[in-house]
Amino acid sequence: MTAGTIPTTEPKGGHQSTGELPQKIGQLSPSWIVFFVAMLAVTAVGFYAYLLQVNNGLIVTGLRGLGTMAGATWGLYVAYYVYFIGVSFAGITVAALIRIFRIEKLEPVARIGELLTVVSLILGALAIMADLEHPWRAIVNLFKYGRPQSPFFGTFTMVIAGYLFASLVYLYVTSRRDAALLAERDSRFKRLYRFLAAGYTDTRAQRRLDRRVTFWLAITILPLLVIAHSTVGFVFGLQAGRPGWFGALQAPGFVVLAGVSGIGNLIMLAAIVRSATRTKGRITIDAFSWLGKLLLGLLITYLYFTAVEILTITYQPGASELTLSEALLSGTYAWIFWGAIASLVIAAVLLIWQALTRRWSIGLVVATGVLVNIGAVAKRYLIVVPSQTHGQLLPYSTGTYTPNWVEWAIVFGLFALGALMIGVFMKIFPIVPLEETDTP
């Protein structure tokens, strides 16, 4: 959907209209068009790769069977599915912090976070669909024969359906006021705003009602968030048949790393939005320092979990755990493992230094956001793949797995699709909530 497809309304020259929409909404600058076309192209390449896969089977990917085929049957798609679901952590957490703990400084980035949640949940759902040969059969059969005993069932119902729906409702409820305010101005989106506002009138009583509704909504979604991210951890943590998966730490580890990658993504996106929509006055260093502190807390928790994990797999491992830990710490996967640890530790050091000196810099906080996401992607990959190729419980040969261009094309296509969704949203609706003083 492009901005041009939305019907324009007749200019009425009403008494209260300013004509101008905030945050460069509706203005298609040359750089935005370049961004749009580039992302569209990458998405198209990903879609082409997906068609290739649908027509020929998953044989066109680098995935192969376990055991005698000595491959990995879950690869990049599952790793990125876990990653995307993790990124969705950001939105509702920030929303909850604002509503429950009244951290008003985060208010300007709240909608960015909520949008990030919705978009990343959609991308996670698409990533898992890319992993299936029969996505339509999957959707039909999950309705007809779904079994709650399977950890995957939680993924499809709780995460993708329940959590996504709740987040969409939250995004809408918190956006209605802005839609009502904008509907009073003459613009090409006037009719859309009026539709979205759905009879909203900006009164004091209504605002109080809004606050109460969003507070309870945040409280309701918060446990859903923990359950949803735990469910993804249970996909691996409940399986005794693979070395390195079985363990009580998997679910909480997934929740915390989800937070790390989600907040890191929010920081990056907030920095981009800030310069793209000319809202530097709104999204200030205060928001970034708050997000930085939140990220630091989660990151230190995750590093602690990682230390516990390393100690557990090296102190007195079983035979197959030993094979796996050798592959991770000094073998095939060592460069990914230590690369991930290095980026997470450097990010933590950068954040601690800023926290101690109490001098926060947006550039440095954004750098930590990038670093933790590199670390998170690598850690997701390391959870999914090495347990399949190394340390098999029967004397199968050691496996190998290298993702090929089809898988990378689909993954990059998903990222581009997400960027498109956010980019188009920014041109239609204020991504930074309007201020109280914006009341006409």
């Binding site: 020929n56 089977g57 998953l58 044989i59 995935l63 192969r64 069977g65 376990l66 055991g67 005698t68 085929m69 000595a70 491959g71 049957t73 879950w74 992993d131 299936l132 040969e133 029969h134 059969r137 999957a138 059969n141 999950l142 007809k144 024969y145 779904g146 079994r147 005993q149 399977s150 950890p151 995957f152 069932f153 499809f156 996909v235 399986q239 005794a240 048949g241 693979r242 035979a319 197959s320 399949q388 098999q392 419980l393 029967l394 004397p395 199968y396 040969s397 050691t398 496996g399 190998t400």
Partner: protein, 250 residues
């Protein structure tokens, strides 16, 4: 109700892999797919090495992790203990494959046309046709396309359609007719035995009771229905002597 089990006499197995061949013929499995597989392993350091053979069908667990994780109930266990896949219902998520510690699951990575095309035989060649008498290509076991058991589900192997999981079925199409699985039937040294384990007087019950043995990875609580007799389980040092079949299917 019968409870089916298999006994593998490791003292008898000579690693000829006739069972693997019989399985492929009975179940028409594609290239690179071995519902029955025979490990040829080596333990120890040269020159003090020990060579072993270990047939590995599906262990037909009574607490099967694959059945537990299946999100749509395509993988299920019948009353007689056989664990089967409903090929019409499987969505191809491959969770059963990662959950199974035995590595018995095979996913159909390719379309059947491609999966069977690689055998490399030109069936049109007059010399080949003279031998096959027009029976190939391809020989198809008609029983595989039929619905099986009282559940009447497509579980016997079907057409090996792309994007669904499959594995050893204990030759359900033969068992339902009162026959033994193809691997058991063909074994030249009677290393494989099959029958009703609930009946104490059945030949397989007596065969197992008279010998010592183990079940594979029993410590994981999977309760396998395959008994290994007259041998030792593979240790941490045991390794396959053949290169993996990675190039197959690529």
């Amino acid at each position: 109700m019968a409870k089916y089990a298999m006994a593998v006499d490791l003292g008898r197995c000579q690693g000829c892999r006739a069972c693997m061949e019989a399985c492929k013929i009975e179940n028409n499995t594609p290239q690179g797919v071995f519902w029955m597989y025979v490990f040829r392993t080596e333990t120890g350091e040269y020159p003090h090495t020990k060579l072993d053979f270990m047939p590995r069908p599906c262990q037909q667990c009574n607490n099967p992790p694959c059945v537990k994780v299946c999100p749509v109930g395509a993988r299920f266990q019948r009353e007689d203990g056989i664990v089967l896949t409903d090929y019409d219902r499987c969505i191809g998520c491959r969770y059963c494959e990662v959950a199974c510690p035995y590595g018995v699951n095979y996913y159909n990575w390719r379309t059947p046309e491609e999966a069977f095309a690689d055998y490399g035989t030109d069936y049109g060649d007059p010399q080949v046709a003279a031998v096959t008498g027009g029976l190939i290509p391809p020989y198809k076991n008609p029983d595989l396309a039929r619905l099986q058991g009282k559940e009447q589900r497509l579980t016997a192997g079907s057409a090996h359609n792309v994007g669904v999981m499959e594995k050893c079925t204990f030759c359900v199409q033969r068992v339902d007719k009162g026959l033994e699985p193809a691997c058991v039937d063909v074994c030249p040294v009677h290393a494989l035995h099959f029958g009703d384990i609930e009946d104490e007087n059945s030949p397989i019950s007596q065969y197992i009771n008279q010998r010592t043995g183990f079940k594979l990875l029993e410590e994981l609580g999977t309760e396998p229905s395959v008994f290994y007799l007259n041998g030792t389980p593979p240790g941490p040092d045991t390794r396959e002597i053949e290169r993996p079949l990675t190039e197959v299917g690529s």
